[in-house]
């Protein structure tokens, strides 16, 4: 060994390191990126462009709808940018950039993506799918004063202004959907016996509570059977057999698991129970669920929607649908017919954001939130007649009006009344 062990070498190194440490600690980090308030310009917006961020599942089991939440938004702003951009309320014309981040439906990753977005100077986070993934960075978004708006979750927390000053949900909360169907049933006038099957969590409970509230005063609707299942169950055959025995003519099925819905549709036919069905908007896809489930065997399959269905023949020549599909192909990197409604929803998110941009008078986040909370009666492209964006009501998401739809063998058409 050829090292000389100088006495005091250790001390020397420690001393040197301490000097370095002390001098480094003198460099105080600047507070850039913290906070977006005030009348100054916020991060992520320049005189010519604005940057939006989306964290959403782009891999894993929820990648299908997740990809759609980016594709629709990119399609909308791709077309807008090609036409020159958005005329903002402060008089400047800006193009809109959309940056996407994959969180694989993992809350920890969505928080990481949010922190990355702050470092990447994103003006606002939008359109991302998922309750846990959006909740994971909700607190951080509030403390950093970064807008987290028009996100795809039915969780009412995001639309509570006191609790969530920098948030706003986009899609109707679960209760809205259940209530819309309950109202239709109550108004039908005929006698109905309803069997309820729901997922044993706040998803299922939300649907059921909305439904029950709506049929509360109606004498013609009675609930004859109510059962639950677990989200991890692989079969609900036992529950279906039991509910079939109740003789119900209407089956309210608040189920979020795609394969389970298909097997339920098949099983009920096998045991000879053919009621009218209600299915939630996210598990009522004509191609992915109703066709394999053989849904035409039932007198009616009802769901709710606020968007036009591009796959339905009724809308094949609709101007909105034609433009949407073209934009999706050209700018959204999504050449197929959308299999999930999230593609349409995120396209509407684009339209809603554009409206807010047009109204915001200063290039900062405060002004943006004020403008965003002041949109009423906006008929975004692809929205069904009778629904509209309304961001002015506390406790409600941007879209709270839904229309009950009836399956016509290929797609959905609006059901004016039950039956």
């Amino acid at each position: 060994m050829k090292i000389r062990n100088k006495p005091g070498g250790v001390l020397g190194i420690v001393a040197a390191a301490s000097i370095v440490a002390l001098s480094l600690s003198g460099c105080v980090r600047d507070g850039a990126g913290q906070g977006g308030g005030g009348s100054s310009t916020s991060p992520g917006i320049t005189d010519t462009s604005i940057t939006l961020g989306v964290t959403t599942p782009l891999s894993g089991p929820t990648a299908g709808p997740g990809t759609c939440t980016v594709a629709g938004l990119a399609a909308y702003f791709g077309a807008v940018n090609a036409a020159g951009g958005v005329q903002f309320g402060d008089g400047k014309k800006r193009t809109v950039d959309v940056k996407s981040y994959d969180d694989a439906y993992d809350p920890q990753k969505s928080l990481s993506n949010f922190q990355q977005m702050v470092a990447d100077n994103v003006f606002a986070v939008t359109s991302g799918l998922g309750t846990p993934t959006n909740r994971a960075f909700r607190d951080a978004a509030i403390s950093q004063e970064v807008p987290q708006v028009l996100v795809m979750t039915g969780d009412p927390l995001f639309s509570d202004r006191e609790e969530s000053p920098w948030q706003l949900g986009f899609v109707p909360i679960y209760q809205n959907e259940g209530a819309a169907f309950g109202k239709l049933l109550a108004e039908s006038g005929a006698q109905h016996k309803v069997a309820i099957l729901s997922q044993n969590d706040d998803y299922g409970k939300g649907y059921v509570s909305g439904f029950k509230e709506a049929i509360g005063g109606a004498a013609n609707v009675s609930v004859v059977g109510e059962l639950t299942y677990e989200a991890t169950d692989t079969s609900v055959d036992a529950q279906l057999t039991q509910l079939a025995a109740s003789g119900a003519d209407v089956f309210f099925n608040a189920m979020s698991i795609t394969p389970l819905v298909i097997s339920s549709l098949q099983k009920a036919q096998q045991i000879g129970w053919k009621p009218s069905w209600f299915l939630p908007s996210n598990t009522s896809s004509p191609t992915a669920i109703l066709q394999p489930g053989g849904a035409t065997a039932y007198p009616g399959i009802y769901s709710v929607s606020f968007s036009k269905a591009p796959q339905s023949p009724a809308f094949a020549k609709d101007a909105d649908v034609v433009k949407f599909l073209a934009d999706l192909k050209q700018y959204g990197n999504y050449p197929d017919m959308p299999a999930f409604p999230h593609c349409m929803w995120s396209y509407m998110v684009g339209a809603t954001l554009e409206e807010a941009f047009k109204k915001m008078t200063e290039p900062n986040r405060d002004s943006f939130m004020t403008a965003l909370r002041d949109i009423k009666g906006l008929q975004a492209p692809l929205m069904l007649e009778g629904t509209a964006v309304d961001t002015t009501t506390d406790g409600q998401p941007a879209v709270s009006s839904v229309l009950v739809q009836k399956y016509d063998g290929r797609g959905y058409t609006t059901a004016e009344k039950f039956g």
Binding site: N5, A21, Y105, Q115, T133, A231
Partner: protein
């Protein structure tokens, strides 16, 4: 190369090196940008989880696919404690002890089963854990999860939140690594090694394989719980998604990539777990699954013993280039995974380990 390791062997040099690293770690958060701190914090969180996994899998050789369950349990316990205004130390202790007790009970039953049966039992943990977390919404907040903020920097500190979190995570992670290092280098570490190589030999030496496995499993659960506490400190939110089975597999992959049976490997594994999603996101957010798979395969093909073996591989290549005829003189000092099947090899492995320990003292 030889001189560098000789220098490192010198006690005072090593002590001063540790001092420099410690000072660097303490000063770093003050100058680094917020995002870097937040990334480092997450690395600490997962390094502790992987460290626990390493003790039971890397050192003791028992397949554990349920580590994420203990992380999630620790996070839930911590969230419950924080939301009920427990003292923060009590929260930490509970977040370690409760997963530890659960781990002990699971291990008491599972360690009786041999080989792959333990893996089966551990698979069941996250699979049962997710619906349980959804079901027990009184404690867990149901499928919407629960938020718990307790790591915002207090006013007197004058720090940003990310800096404060960094120090909390640094404290716990450093303690965890120190404890783990002492554990695996001492008597228990040696019995872990023997049980991994051959249970019959272990029994003949008076080491109970059953007790050793239970101990390793329990220690791993405690580390999992500590990691869960850190998870809550960093993310401030937990939900049933936290303990989904897929993350458990990712943890195992990160451990193998870092280096099974190596303390440093656990740290590298934590860095891998955090960096790779960020990296693949930067490449193309639509192709994260494919690019993560490609990186995983590339590392395993090039460095089958994990990233921790990189310096050794470089050294070997360098030696081969300078003196191609000389066979390697002594066995690798810190070989993380060797699979000697014969008894003699076990003894040799033991001796290397013992030699290492003597060398330490």
């Amino acid at each position: 190369m030889r001189t560098i390791s000789a220098v490192l062997a010198n006690r005072s040099v090593r002590a001063s090196l540790i001092a420099v690293v410690a000072i660097a770690l303490i000063v770093a958060p003050l100058i680094l940008p917020a995002f870097t701190n937040q990334t480092l914090v997450r690395i600490g969180v997962y390094a502790v989880a992987i460290l626990g996994l390493n003790i039971v899998m890397g050192y003791t050789g028992q397949v554990n696919l349920g580590q994420i369950f203990f992380v999630g349990l620790g996070a839930y316990v911590a969230a419950y404690g924080v939301n009920h205004d427990w003292n923060i130390l009590l929260v930490f202790v509970a977040a370690c002890v409760i997963p530890g007790i659960v781990g002990l009970f699971v291990a008491l039953a599972a360690a009786r089963l041999g080989g792959l049966a333990i893996a089966m039992v551990t698979i069941a943990l996250p699979i049962v854990g997710v619906p349980l977390a959804k079901r027990l919404d009184e404690f867990t907040g149901g499928s919407q999860g629960t938020s718990a903020r307790f790591t915002d920097a207090p006013d007197w500190s004058g720090l940003y939140n990310d800096q404060w979190q960094f120090y909390i995570v640094l404290l716990v992670t450093a303690a965890a690594f120190l404890l783990a290092r002492n554990l695996v280098r001492g008597r228990y570490g040696r019995s872990f090694g023997v049980v991994r190589e051959n249970e019959a030999v272990a029994a003949s030496m008076g080491i109970s394989p059953y007790r050793t496995k239970v101990l390793a499993f329990t220690v791993a659960s405690i580390f999992g719980g500590a990691s869960g506490f850190l998870y809550l400190a960093a993310v401030q939110y937990t939900s049933p998604e936290t303990l989904s089975f897929g993350h458990s597999i990712s943890l195992v992959a990160a451990m193998v990539i870092g280096g099974a049976g190596s303390i440093t490997g656990a740290l590298i594994g934590g860095a891998y777990y955090v960096f790779v999603p960020q990296l693949t996101n930067a490449i193309d957010p639509n192709l994260t699954a494919i690019s993560q798979g490609a990186i995983l395969l590339a590392v395993l093909f090039l460095l089958p013993q994990g990233l921790v073996s990189l310096p050794r591989v470089i050294r070997r290549l360098a030696r081969r280039r300078t003196a191609p005829s000389t066979p390697s003189g002594k066995p690798p000092q810190n070989s993380p995974v060797h699979h000697p099947t014969t008894e003699a090899a076990v003894r040799e492995g033991l001796e290397t380990q013992r030699g290492k320990i003597d060398h330490e003292d």
